[in-house]
Protein backbone atom coordinates (compact mmCIF):
# COMPACT_ATOMS: atom_id res chain seq x y z
CA UNK A 1 0.00 0.00 0.00
CA UNK A 2 1.31 3.43 -0.95
CA UNK A 3 2.26 5.54 2.05
CA UNK A 4 2.05 9.17 0.92
CA UNK A 5 1.51 10.57 4.40
CA UNK A 6 4.87 12.11 5.26
CA UNK A 7 3.61 13.39 8.61
CA UNK A 8 5.74 16.04 10.31
CA UNK A 9 8.47 15.63 7.66
CA UNK A 10 6.22 16.59 4.72
CA UNK A 11 7.81 20.06 4.58
CA UNK A 12 11.17 18.42 3.74
CA UNK A 13 10.16 15.39 1.66
CA UNK A 14 7.75 16.97 -0.84
CA UNK A 15 9.97 19.96 -1.70
CA UNK A 16 12.82 17.50 -2.35
CA UNK A 17 10.65 15.49 -4.76
CA UNK A 18 9.16 18.62 -6.34
CA UNK A 19 12.60 20.12 -6.94
CA UNK A 20 13.83 16.85 -8.45
CA UNK A 21 10.83 16.80 -10.82
CA UNK A 22 11.44 20.43 -11.83
CA UNK A 23 15.16 19.85 -12.49
CA UNK A 24 14.44 16.72 -14.54
CA UNK A 25 11.78 18.61 -16.52
CA UNK A 26 14.33 21.35 -17.14
CA UNK A 27 17.03 18.92 -18.25
CA UNK A 28 14.61 17.19 -20.64
CA UNK A 29 13.17 20.46 -21.96
CA UNK A 30 16.51 22.21 -22.52
CA UNK A 31 18.14 19.13 -24.07
CA UNK A 32 15.30 18.51 -26.53
CA UNK A 33 14.92 22.22 -27.41
CA UNK A 34 18.66 22.61 -28.00
CA UNK A 35 18.82 19.51 -30.21
CA UNK A 36 15.70 20.39 -32.23
CA UNK A 37 16.73 24.00 -32.76
CA UNK A 38 20.13 23.08 -34.14
CA UNK A 39 18.76 20.19 -36.18
CA UNK A 40 16.33 22.57 -37.92
CA UNK A 41 19.11 25.14 -38.47
CA UNK A 42 21.49 22.52 -39.89
CA UNK A 43 18.79 21.20 -42.22
CA UNK A 44 17.89 24.72 -43.40
CA UNK A 45 21.51 25.50 -44.22
CA UNK A 46 22.00 22.13 -45.92
CA UNK A 47 18.89 22.69 -48.07
CA UNK A 48 20.01 26.21 -48.94
CA UNK A 49 23.44 24.85 -49.89
CA UNK A 50 21.99 22.36 -52.36
Amino acid sequence: MLDLDAGKYAAFIWPAYALTAVVFAGMIGFSLTHARRWRRRAEQLRDADQ
Binding site: Y9, F12, I13, V23, M27, H34, A35, R37, R41, L45
Partner: protein, 242 residues
Protein backbone atom coordinates in the same frame (compact mmCIF):
# COMPACT_ATOMS: atom_id res chain seq x y z
CA UNK B 1 44.07 4.35 -32.51
CA UNK B 2 41.32 5.39 -30.16
CA UNK B 3 40.17 2.41 -28.09
CA UNK B 4 36.45 3.00 -28.55
CA UNK B 5 33.64 1.27 -30.43
CA UNK B 6 33.28 2.36 -34.05
CA UNK B 7 30.01 4.21 -33.42
CA UNK B 8 31.76 6.50 -30.96
CA UNK B 9 34.44 7.53 -33.42
CA UNK B 10 32.26 8.08 -36.47
CA UNK B 11 29.63 10.86 -36.23
CA UNK B 12 27.36 9.25 -38.84
CA UNK B 13 27.31 5.93 -37.02
CA UNK B 14 26.88 7.72 -33.70
CA UNK B 15 23.87 9.62 -35.05
CA UNK B 16 22.31 6.40 -36.38
CA UNK B 17 22.94 4.63 -33.04
CA UNK B 18 21.72 7.47 -30.83
CA UNK B 19 18.50 7.94 -32.88
CA UNK B 20 17.06 4.74 -31.37
CA UNK B 21 19.22 4.47 -28.24
CA UNK B 22 18.18 7.83 -26.73
CA UNK B 23 14.40 7.09 -26.65
CA UNK B 24 15.12 3.51 -25.57
CA UNK B 25 17.15 4.68 -22.54
CA UNK B 26 14.43 7.24 -21.81
CA UNK B 27 11.72 4.55 -21.77
CA UNK B 28 13.87 2.33 -19.53
CA UNK B 29 14.39 5.26 -17.16
CA UNK B 30 10.63 5.90 -16.85
CA UNK B 31 9.86 2.22 -16.16
CA UNK B 32 12.64 1.91 -13.57
CA UNK B 33 11.69 5.19 -11.88
CA UNK B 34 8.02 4.15 -11.60
CA UNK B 35 9.04 0.79 -10.11
CA UNK B 36 11.54 2.46 -7.76
CA UNK B 37 9.05 5.09 -6.59
CA UNK B 38 6.35 2.45 -6.03
CA UNK B 39 8.68 0.33 -3.90
CA UNK B 40 10.01 3.46 -2.18
CA UNK B 41 6.58 4.65 -1.11
CA UNK B 42 5.35 1.20 -0.09
CA UNK B 43 8.42 0.60 2.09
CA UNK B 44 7.89 1.07 5.83
CA UNK B 45 9.21 4.13 7.66
CA UNK B 46 12.75 3.82 8.97
CA UNK B 47 12.82 3.16 12.72
CA UNK B 48 15.19 6.09 13.31
CA UNK B 49 14.64 8.49 10.42
CA UNK B 50 10.92 8.01 9.94
CA UNK B 51 9.52 9.15 6.59
CA UNK B 52 12.62 11.20 5.74
CA UNK B 53 14.24 7.96 4.57
CA UNK B 54 12.25 8.45 1.34
CA UNK B 55 14.51 11.40 0.46
CA UNK B 56 17.29 8.80 0.14
CA UNK B 57 15.68 7.42 -3.06
CA UNK B 58 16.27 10.71 -4.88
CA UNK B 59 19.27 12.08 -2.98
CA UNK B 60 21.65 9.11 -3.19
CA UNK B 61 21.15 8.45 -6.95
CA UNK B 62 21.73 12.18 -7.61
CA UNK B 63 24.96 11.97 -5.59
CA UNK B 64 26.06 8.84 -7.48
CA UNK B 65 25.33 10.57 -10.79
CA UNK B 66 27.22 13.71 -9.80
CA UNK B 67 30.39 11.59 -9.66
CA UNK B 68 29.61 9.22 -12.53
CA UNK B 69 28.89 12.11 -14.91
CA UNK B 70 32.19 13.73 -13.91
CA UNK B 71 33.98 10.47 -14.78
CA UNK B 72 32.26 10.63 -18.21
CA UNK B 73 33.35 14.28 -18.51
CA UNK B 74 36.92 13.35 -17.60
CA UNK B 75 37.15 10.41 -20.02
CA UNK B 76 35.59 12.43 -22.86
CA UNK B 77 37.91 15.35 -22.13
CA UNK B 78 40.93 13.04 -22.12
CA UNK B 79 39.98 11.60 -25.52
CA UNK B 80 39.30 15.09 -26.88
CA UNK B 81 42.56 16.51 -25.51
CA UNK B 82 44.90 13.65 -26.46
CA UNK B 83 43.31 12.46 -29.73
CA UNK B 84 41.64 15.75 -30.77
CA UNK B 85 38.46 13.79 -31.26
CA UNK B 86 35.57 16.12 -32.15
CA UNK B 87 32.82 13.75 -31.00
CA UNK B 88 34.55 13.20 -27.65
CA UNK B 89 34.71 16.98 -27.23
CA UNK B 90 31.00 17.24 -28.05
CA UNK B 91 30.34 14.49 -25.48
CA UNK B 92 32.29 16.39 -22.82
CA UNK B 93 30.50 19.63 -23.60
CA UNK B 94 27.12 17.86 -23.58
CA UNK B 95 27.47 16.18 -20.20
CA UNK B 96 28.67 19.14 -18.10
CA UNK B 97 25.22 20.79 -17.64
CA UNK B 98 23.70 17.40 -16.76
CA UNK B 99 26.41 16.78 -14.18
CA UNK B 100 25.86 20.23 -12.70
CA UNK B 101 22.11 19.54 -12.45
CA UNK B 102 22.64 16.20 -10.69
CA UNK B 103 25.15 17.75 -8.28
CA UNK B 104 22.75 20.62 -7.54
CA UNK B 105 20.04 18.04 -6.78
CA UNK B 106 22.39 16.08 -4.52
CA UNK B 107 23.28 19.22 -2.56
CA UNK B 108 19.73 20.55 -2.16
CA UNK B 109 17.97 17.24 -1.45
CA UNK B 110 20.80 16.45 0.98
CA UNK B 111 20.17 19.75 2.72
CA UNK B 112 16.43 18.99 2.93
CA UNK B 113 17.31 15.62 4.48
CA UNK B 114 19.99 17.05 6.77
CA UNK B 115 17.80 19.70 8.39
CA UNK B 116 15.40 17.29 10.16
CA UNK B 117 18.11 14.65 10.85
CA UNK B 118 21.15 16.75 11.80
CA UNK B 119 19.39 19.94 12.81
CA UNK B 120 21.31 21.94 10.18
CA UNK B 121 20.74 22.81 6.52
CA UNK B 122 24.46 22.86 5.87
CA UNK B 123 27.70 21.97 7.64
CA UNK B 124 31.21 22.58 6.32
CA UNK B 125 32.29 18.97 6.64
CA UNK B 126 34.47 17.13 4.13
CA UNK B 127 31.72 15.34 2.17
CA UNK B 128 29.46 18.34 1.69
CA UNK B 129 32.33 20.70 0.95
CA UNK B 130 33.96 18.36 -1.59
CA UNK B 131 30.61 17.93 -3.39
CA UNK B 132 30.22 21.72 -3.44
CA UNK B 133 33.71 21.89 -5.01
CA UNK B 134 32.55 19.30 -7.58
CA UNK B 135 29.57 21.56 -8.40
CA UNK B 136 31.93 24.52 -8.80
CA UNK B 137 34.12 22.48 -11.20
CA UNK B 138 31.06 21.86 -13.39
CA UNK B 139 30.17 25.57 -13.34
CA UNK B 140 33.78 26.57 -14.04
CA UNK B 141 33.92 24.12 -16.98
CA UNK B 142 30.78 25.62 -18.53
CA UNK B 143 31.90 29.19 -17.86
CA UNK B 144 35.34 28.60 -19.36
CA UNK B 145 33.83 26.90 -22.38
CA UNK B 146 31.43 29.78 -22.95
CA UNK B 147 34.08 32.46 -22.48
CA UNK B 148 36.37 31.40 -25.36
CA UNK B 149 35.10 32.03 -28.90
CA UNK B 150 37.66 29.81 -30.64
CA UNK B 151 36.14 26.31 -30.52
CA UNK B 152 39.50 24.48 -30.56
CA UNK B 153 41.02 26.64 -27.81
CA UNK B 154 37.84 26.33 -25.72
CA UNK B 155 37.96 22.55 -26.10
CA UNK B 156 41.59 22.31 -24.97
CA UNK B 157 41.30 24.74 -22.05
CA UNK B 158 38.11 23.16 -20.72
CA UNK B 159 39.53 19.64 -21.16
CA UNK B 160 42.51 20.57 -18.98
CA UNK B 161 40.16 21.99 -16.33
CA UNK B 162 38.01 18.84 -16.43
CA UNK B 163 41.09 16.61 -16.03
CA UNK B 164 42.33 18.67 -13.06
CA UNK B 165 38.90 18.28 -11.46
CA UNK B 166 39.22 14.48 -11.52
CA UNK B 167 41.48 14.84 -8.46
CA UNK B 168 38.38 15.83 -6.46
CA UNK B 169 36.52 12.54 -7.12
CA UNK B 170 38.49 10.30 -4.71
CA UNK B 171 38.27 13.10 -2.14
CA UNK B 172 34.45 13.10 -2.46
CA UNK B 173 34.30 9.31 -2.26
CA UNK B 174 36.64 8.77 0.70
CA UNK B 175 35.92 12.03 2.54
CA UNK B 176 33.69 10.21 5.04
CA UNK B 177 36.52 7.74 5.74
CA UNK B 178 39.43 10.18 5.89
CA UNK B 179 37.77 12.81 8.08
CA UNK B 180 35.21 12.91 10.87
CA UNK B 181 31.92 13.73 9.23
CA UNK B 182 28.25 14.16 10.08
CA UNK B 183 27.54 12.44 6.77
CA UNK B 184 27.13 8.68 7.02
CA UNK B 185 29.67 6.36 5.43
CA UNK B 186 29.13 4.12 2.41
CA UNK B 187 26.23 1.73 2.94
CA UNK B 188 25.75 0.22 -0.54
CA UNK B 189 29.06 0.01 -2.44
CA UNK B 190 31.33 -1.17 0.38
CA UNK B 191 33.52 -4.12 1.21
CA UNK B 192 31.39 -6.76 2.89
CA UNK B 193 28.23 -5.82 1.01
CA UNK B 194 25.41 -3.35 1.59
CA UNK B 195 24.26 -2.61 5.13
CA UNK B 196 20.86 -1.35 3.99
CA UNK B 197 17.76 -3.42 4.56
CA UNK B 198 16.37 -4.97 1.35
CA UNK B 199 13.16 -2.93 1.61
CA UNK B 200 15.24 0.23 1.15
CA UNK B 201 18.01 -1.25 -0.99
CA UNK B 202 15.80 -2.38 -3.89
CA UNK B 203 14.02 0.93 -4.50
CA UNK B 204 17.36 2.72 -4.11
CA UNK B 205 19.03 0.49 -6.73
CA UNK B 206 16.07 0.86 -9.11
CA UNK B 207 16.18 4.64 -8.76
CA UNK B 208 19.95 4.58 -9.27
CA UNK B 209 19.49 2.65 -12.52
CA UNK B 210 16.65 5.00 -13.55
CA UNK B 211 18.90 8.03 -13.04
CA UNK B 212 21.68 6.33 -15.01
CA UNK B 213 19.35 5.50 -17.91
CA UNK B 214 17.93 9.04 -17.85
CA UNK B 215 21.43 10.46 -18.00
CA UNK B 216 22.28 8.10 -20.89
CA UNK B 217 19.24 9.27 -22.83
CA UNK B 218 19.77 12.98 -22.17
CA UNK B 219 23.49 12.76 -22.86
CA UNK B 220 22.84 11.21 -26.27
CA UNK B 221 20.22 13.87 -27.06
CA UNK B 222 22.62 16.64 -26.07
CA UNK B 223 25.51 15.16 -28.09
CA UNK B 224 23.19 14.97 -31.11
CA UNK B 225 22.31 18.64 -30.58
CA UNK B 226 26.00 19.50 -30.36
CA UNK B 227 26.77 17.62 -33.59
CA UNK B 228 23.97 19.52 -35.36
CA UNK B 229 25.17 22.84 -33.94
CA UNK B 230 28.66 22.23 -35.28
CA UNK B 231 27.29 21.14 -38.65
CA UNK B 232 25.12 24.27 -38.82
CA UNK B 233 28.00 26.55 -37.91
CA UNK B 234 30.28 24.88 -40.47
CA UNK B 235 27.58 25.25 -43.14
CA UNK B 236 27.04 28.91 -42.20
CA UNK B 237 30.78 29.51 -42.49
CA UNK B 238 30.89 27.86 -45.92
CA UNK B 239 27.93 29.96 -47.05
CA UNK B 240 29.61 33.16 -45.83
CA UNK B 241 32.78 32.38 -47.81
CA UNK B 242 30.98 31.75 -51.11
Amino acid sequence: MIPAPAFLTNPERFMAFSRWAAPMFGAIAIILALAGLWLGFTAPEDYQQGDTVRIMFIHVPAAWMSMFVYVCLGVSSFLAFVFRHALADAAAQACAPLGAAFTFLALVTGSLWGRPMWGAWWVWDARLTSVLVLFLFYLAYMALRASIDDEAKAARASAILALVGLVNLPIVHWSVTWWNSLHQGASVFRAGGPTLSAVFLWPLLLMGLAYTAAFGSLWLVRIRGEVWRRRAEAAALRAART
